[in-house]
C-alpha cells in the first residue's frame, strides 16, 4: 500500500455541479481499485502561471489516496481522455500532512484544519 497525492486541474468554465461530478467519478475509480480516499481538498479557482489550452485559470482538486500503485494506471488512463481536465499529477509520499492546507483561504470543506494552519503560521 502506498500513500499518494493526486491533483487535478480542471477547465476554468466548469460549473460547480460538474466539479462535483468529476470528484465523485475519480473517487469511485479509486474505491473500485481497492484504494481509499483519505482526504479531498478543493483549492478553488486559481490563476495559472501560464496559458494552458487557452485557459487563464484552473479549478484545482487535490486527493490524498491510500492504495496500491496499480490504481494510478486506471486513474490516469481515464484522465487522459477527459476533456474537462488540463493537467493531472500523482506524487508518492512517505507521510501525509493532513493539517497543512496552503490554499485554505479558498477552501470550503475544512473549518477545523484551517484553524490548525493559522496556529502553525503564528
Amino acid at each position: 500500500m502506498n500513500l499518494l497525492e493526486h491533483t487535478i486541474v480542471a477547465r476554468q468554465d466548469t460549473s460547480l455541479s460538474q466539479l462535483k461530478q468529476i470528484t465523485d467519478r475519480y473517487s469511485s475509480i479509486v474505491t473500485k481499485n481497492k484504494g481509499e480516499v483519505i482526504q479531498t481538498q478543493n483549492w478553488g479557482l486559481l490563476n495559472l502561471a501560464f496559458l494552458i489550452k487557452k485557459n487563464k485559470k484552473g479549478n484545482y482538486i487535490h486527493f490524498k489516496i491510500k492504495g496500491p500503485s496499480s490504481l494510478i494506471l486506471d486513474l490516469e488512463k481515464s484522465e487522459r481522455m477527459d476533456k474537462n481536465l488540463l493537467r493531472y499529477m500523482t506524487v508518492k509520499v512517505k507521510k501525509f500532512d493532513l493539517e497543512a492546507n496552503y490554499f485554505s483561504g479558498k477552501d470550503k470543506e475544512e473549518t477545523d484544519t484551517s484553524k490548525v494552519t493559522k496556529k502553525n503560521s503564528n
Binding site: A49, I52, G58, H62, L86, V91, D97, A100, Y102
Partner: protein, 89 residues
C-alpha cells in the same frame, strides 16, 4: 606636483586595506535557512516559499546566491518543477 604625489600614496594605502588577506571579521557565510530547526517544509504546494527561490523569469536560483544547503536545493528544484507542471509557478 607634490600634492599629486601625496594623493597617489593615499590611494595605494587604501588598496592595501582591500587585500586578499583580510581578517576573518569580514568574511561571513550565511547559514542555510531551510535546514534550521522549525524551518518550513519544502513542498510543491507551498508556493509562497518556492517563489523566494525563483527569479522573476521563473528560473531556479543557484544555491550560491540563496545560500541553501545542497540537500535542500535538490528538494527545492524537484518541488519547483512539480509546481511548474501544475501551472502554479
Amino acid at each position: 606636483m607634490q600634492k599629486k604625489r601625496n594623493n597617489k600614496k593615499k590611494s595605494q594605502s587604501n588598496f592595501a586595506k582591500l587585500s586578499i588577506f583580510q581578517p576573518n571579521k569580514y568574511k561571513f557565510k550565511k547559514k542555510c535557512r531551510l535546514s534550521i530547526k522549525g524551518a518550513p517544509v519544502v513542498d510543491y504546494k507551498n508556493i509562497k516559499l518556492l517563489k523566494r527561490y525563483v527569479s522573476e523569469n521563473g528560473k531556479i536560483l543557484p544555491s550560491r546566491i540563496t545560500n541553501v544547503s545542497q540537500k535542500k536545493q535538490r528538494e527545492l528544484s524537484l518541488s519547483i518543477k512539480r509546481a511548474r507542471n501544475l501551472g502554479l509557478i
